[in-house]
Structure formats: structure tokens, C-alpha cells
Symmetry: C2
Subunit: 404 residues, 2 copies
Amino acid sequence: MDEERLRRYAELVVRVGVNLRPGQDVTIEGYVEHAPFVRAVARAAYEAGARHVEATYSDQIVTRTRVELAPAETLDWVPDWQIARLKSHADREAARIAIRSQPFPFLLDDLPRERVAPVQNNRLRELSSRQHTTEQVAWTLVGFPTEGWAEAVFGEPDLERLWEAIAHCVRLDEADPVAAWQAHVDRLLARAGALNELGVDALRFHGPGTDLTVGLLPRSRWMSAGGETVFGQWHIANVPTEETFTTPDPARTEGSVRSTRPLTIGGSVVKDLEMRFAGGEIVEARASSGVELVEAQLAKDGGARRLGEVALVDGTSRVGDTGLVFFDTLFDENATCHIAYGRGFADCVDGHEGKSLAELGVNDSAIHTDFMIGGPEVDVDAVTRSGETVPLLRNDVWQLGEGS
Amino acid sequence: MDEERLRRYAELVVRVGVNLRPGQDVTIEGYVEHAPFVRAVARAAYEAGARHVEATYSDQIVTRTRVELAPAETLDWVPDWQIARLKSHADREAARIAIRSQPFPFLLDDLPRERVAPVQNNRLRELSSRQHTTEQVAWTLVGFPTEGWAEAVFGEPDLERLWEAIAHCVRLDEADPVAAWQAHVDRLLARAGALNELGVDALRFHGPGTDLTVGLLPRSRWMSAGGETVFGQWHIANVPTEETFTTPDPARTEGSVRSTRPLTIGGSVVKDLEMRFAGGEIVEARASSGVELVEAQLAKDGGARRLGEVALVDGTSRVGDTGLVFFDTLFDENATCHIAYGRGFADCVDGHEGKSLAELGVNDSAIHTDFMIGGPEVDVDAVTRSGETVPLLRNDVWQLGEGS
């Protein structure tokens, strides 16, 4: 274990990720295999003035055993105290550092899909996701290299190689990562600003298997890099982050889309996902593997079949330039353009303060699942409110002038 | 990792320890270093018909960091959801398997005692202990070998040697451990029966530095091996267990006692503890190291200075016959006679059903701390209600006839 690298990563997550306030409570969520990082983050948090740090571990192996052996009707059951735990973070205006990378990305992939799905879509995951998209806590999602993850990415447990890739993605390979992040965030915010100035009414994606139009709301606002909690704390929700995103009109997506990267859902993999939209709704979903997991999510509620997010990522992405498939959405969605079915973001609508998703016309659902649809072969255009078509991405190159 | 040994140990804990009922919920509490055992126990529990298994991990390293760096006034703080978690186990009549051995028994020993004590005596620990002594859950306390624990015991991280010692203590070295436990439990229960028949009014301990009389209640009842929950589930509360114990009269302990083994309190060690009692109360406590930790407990409440337990263990103990000091109370208290200051046991009083500790005349306190006072040099006598003095232990040999 390279202790200095670990320390720098922990400091980055505390200072840049959640942008910790002195006196704030912190919760760190990780898997057992993440213990070295959980410990480093706990230390960094206390050093930055945290009042109390709570470390909560999940165990993917125990989850696998549950899927294998527990009574079928109990698989989506969650004890009330776990709900109380999440609510207490919002009540205390806490910072939440969630180490989301799966120690073994394919661990549940050989198990019956109908037993995996209930575990993946329970009310705990819904609440956690909802707290994030509604900015109830100062949250950041991060990854931590494990041998099992390296095995999934490289076909061999080359932990050091994964560490180097991740260090590059999160800018730990810079002399001063915190300063490098500031420059990166400024660049992403400028990109969001340019898109907002453009006045985008719809996006068009064209590529192999993809001919998709995503219509936005009249007041959809482009965001990037971070968000602000309901109690006014700026934070970087994803480390890494490379996207500029907004929340679309749930009724205005039309056409077909083919995913360009596998989608990993909690230990299972969905391959070659394709979807067809009509009137904003997913009317068909296909995949060469794992479509049952997607179908289970789409059946959750009315909003599950409509889009909550559209996000643009170009070839300058540090995740994309590794050339790797990470089998982890946090990383893979920051390699390329993506969309999410399910709940959207209130704060991606101008004048959202104090209004519900329904009042804002934003899609609502128990779920929010991103999948990747971009790449060098996928052209992206904006159709502006004045009816102009403006190229945004060609061969993964950003087309709007960004100054020098 | 010897998977077969792990599997047998897990099965023992589930079948004998908590005596799991089909359909019952299970909580497994361990430290991060215990993950292989937590996983094996979770599997054994599901295989035995558990409805839901919840694995909750603590992190001793994060606790150390907290003691080092958190604001002093927050060190005894516990989030409400952790209290809700324990209560939910009682509400669900769950089984609780607590892996209590510390991964690093001396981890907090160099930190300021006044910062360690609040972490050791918070309301979470009180509730957990109280749920156990009042039989709200089907509980068992167990240990799991780690390199850090082996280092504490042997001065080197000889994990295999610690495994062998523990396997011996918990009868995993028997061809059929479950059957061996049944015979062991029967023998311990017979010993409790013999003491109950004897009609003990008080115990006398004589040895180097020890001249102690512990008076019992008129209806104190000797127990051993296990207990029964308020919902009627027999379980073995300690694995290993070698003791025959009861709850004394809180007002009738007199004299002086010298501990015969170090007392380990959550990562810190109290050495050479001596206490003087008058009118049932601890009026003086001394130690060559760590007395501040004991003093902090004694200051908790009125009952902390009075006894809640007296327990007899002879030289046939499998823990004792290893010749080791484990620096872990679960093991060390099962090597030799011990007493506990703080809360007593309702079910060690005849006719206790539905009555409070106060109604029964049993000591009550937030704490319950066992320490070891027996050994070959300590003679133990019973004074019977009819005034007779009956030898119980000489040179660690049990003196009451036990049949053949």
C-alpha cells in the first residue's frame, strides 16, 4: 500500500469531493475491501475538522450469499434502521463520501436475475439516490482499486495498473491535485455556461444503432462539476467528473439508441443494451445479456421508463483517454456521453428553489440509471430554441469554442 | 485460510451459539478484520434457515483516529440510528452473533485515558450490554483470530498458533464439536445444579492480595452455559464458556481482591488491578496501569461500584489449560474465577419473571465489567445458608463431587 498516495487521495475526497465544513459530521460508506481508504478518509476528515466520522461497511460477499439463499419474498427487504441512518445524515446536514466501486464487479452475474433485481432496487438505494439528486447531503461518489476490480478490467488482478489508471482519472498524478481540480472545474463550468448561452431545445445523437432526439424543458439548465446542497454547501458529486449534464423533458425523447459500453448494475453486467423511445417513453429494451435487470428497473414505476438526465463528455476526458472499460458506472459514464432513465435533477431547472419535481416538470422515479451512448462514431448536435442546428461533438471533439 | 475450519466454526456459532430458529433474523457484528468469519457465519445462518442476515462492521483503526483527533466533547456521542439498530433486533426477536475479540488488543493503550474512556462507555455499549443481560435477543459472543491479536498473545503474529488455541477452547478440535458442546453444557449445568442444591449464602476467596467475601441474595440462582431469551429461546451466550455464575447481593461484598490476569477494555489494558470493598461498594481501586479507565466506569452511576456477577471456573477449563493470557475478556474470564462490577442478571434470581432489577434486589448500572480473580493460589469456599463452610476450589480443582 502506497500510504502517501492513499493520503493524497483521501485529502482530495475530503477537500474537493465533499468540500468539508469544519464541525460537520461525515459518513463514509464503503465495502470491506475498501478499509484502507475508509481509514485514510476518516483521518483526513478529522484533520479537516470533522465533528464525527461514521464508517459504514457493506459486504458484497454477504450480499451474494443472500441472493443465493434467502427466501425469495425477503430479497427486497430493508431494516428500518438503515433508512433512519440515511435520514439522520440529511437531518445533520452531513457530508457523505460513498466509495461506490464494487470490489468484484461481476460477482452476482451468474445468479438468477429475478433474485438479483430485488436486492438492487430496494428502498434504501432509492432513498440514497433521491437524497443525492435532491441535494439533501454534501455527497461525493468515488472509487477505490481492489484486486477483484482490476481482474474485471484487465483480466488479471493487476492492482497497481488499476491504481495508476484511477490516479490519472482523479488527477492524483498532478503535483497539486487540489489546484488541478480547480482548473478542471472552471473549465467544466465554462462549458455548461456556453451550453446555457446557446439556448438548447433538443439534442440529437447519430451513430451506429443510434438515432435519438432528447428534448429539453424550456428552463432546463446545464450543470457540471458539482452541485449545491439545500443547506448551501458546494460539493463535487463525482470524483472523477467529466460531464456537462441537464435534465430533459420526460415527454420529448424519440428514436433509438445503442449503448456504447457495458452497463454494470451492482455486481451484474448488462451488455449491448438498446432502447427505443416514443413520446418520451422507453417502449422497447433489448440486450445481449442482463436485459431482465433493466426490465426490473423499468417496471418500478411510471417514471422509470422516461429520461432524467442527458450528459455530454468529450475525448478530453481523463477517464476516456485511459482507453479502459471500468465496469463501473462512475468511471464509465465519465468516459463518454450518457443518458439516465428514471429520476431527474430539480437543480437542473432554472428557478427550482422550493419546488417539487412534479411542479418543475422533471421526471420522478425510484430509480436513476445512467448508461453510456457516446463515442467517436456518435455525432451530437444541439437544436437551439431558435431552430438552428449546432454541432456539439464530432469524433469525440468538442465543437463549441472554449477560448484558450 | 482453512475454509473447512472456518465453516465448522461458523456452523458451531449458528447452531450452538445462538441456536438459530428457522425464519429468524440474524445480526452479525464484527470488525473489518473479521470479514472471512462474518461471511462464513452469514452463509451458515442462511443455510440454517435465517430470514435476513445483517452484517455490521466496526473499524478499530477509525476508532483510534477518533480518539486521537475528534473534539473532546463529542467522544461519547452516538448517532440515534445506532440505537435504533439495536432496538430493532429486540423488536424482531433476532439472533445476535457478536465477534467481540479486538483485532488489535492494545491499539488504544498509548492514547490519553481521558479520551479513551468516553468512547468505551457510551450509550450504545450500555444498550447492547443491557439487551444481553436482560435477554432481549438470542446472543452469543465469540472471538476470531487475527494477526494483531496473535501478536498481543504471543509477541509475534503467529496466526496459526492462535487458531489452534482458539479451536481447542471452542472444541473445534473435536470430531463432532456440536456433540462435544452438548456434553460440555450438560456438565456445566450439573455443576450449577449442585451449587443451587448446596444453598450458598456467600463465597470466600483467599489468595495473595485477596481476602474477599461476596454475599448472595436469598434467591440468587447459579447458572451456566446458556440463557433463555424473554421470547423463550435457549442460547449459549459465550463461546467458549466455562463458568458457573450468579448475581450477588449488591450490599454484601467485603474485603480486598487482587486481579490475577490483565483486564482488557476495548483496546486498552488494565494491569494489576486491586479493589477494596466495604458494604458492597468499591471504596478503592488501584492498578499499575489503566486505573483511569476503571475509575471512569466506576464514576458512571451508583451501581457501577457494586457487584453484578460472581463466577467460578476450575482448572478443567479449556481456556485455562492453554496456559495463555488472551488479552480478551471473553477468553480470559473463562480461564478462571471472576467477578463483574456493574449490572447484574435478572435471570440469576429465582422467580424473576416480569420483575425489574430493582424489584429483585439485583444491582443496576450502565456498565458490566468482568475481571479475573481466580487461579491455583486462590482458594474458594462456600458459606451455606445453614452456616457451613464448604470448599469449592483448591489448587484450581473443583471440590464438589460431580459423579463420574
